[in-house]
Symmetry: C2
Amino acid sequence: MKVKGNFWIEIDSKSFLGKGRIELLKKIDKYGSISKAAKDMKMSYKAAWDLVDIINKLAKENVVEKISGGKGGGGSVVTEYGKKLIAFFDEAEERYKQSLKDIEEFLNKEI
Amino acid sequence: MKVKGNFWIEIDSKSFLGKGRIELLKKIDKYGSISKAAKDMKMSYKAAWDLVDIINKLAKENVVEKISGGKGGGGSVVTEYGKKLIAFFDEAEERYKQSLKDIEEFLNKEI
């Protein structure tokens, strides 16, 4: 028997962060661009932007911010607060995976 | 922030038991009848029977068995093994809920 599962974080009973959104944020951080991140995720720019908008509105501080000007004509960055969220989500995911393993061990021992 | 999630048990990479299937098994145990359980779950008899069939085929022992004859013209029972599965699933669910709470506490403390 294998124990599988998934988890996500809600704020005000609305979905805030899950695996997919964290992946999107990591790609925005990598590329400095929502459109490049969207392309890499095989999402439309609009879908990615809508997710970023939901995340920014639910979070107590901005997670992604537009930067304008410069050589590349601007882009988007994940804020320090956003990077902190990513790091703590990753840590939460590790803890979550461990708890699924613990439950799996319990079930396989008992049944 | 609230941490939400769900989990299920797989055997041979196939979904074996989750919250919905356990609920169905509990109702079969209560009513001694797949059709009454199906009705209570607002499922078709066929859908309920197909789930029971999947569960029985994946499990190492029968979980639900038909009984024939008697006053009511037969019915279905959850076997002792099936009852054990229900009990351990419930215990696994308690542990799971606790681990989500622990992760929630961790996140709310850190972020």
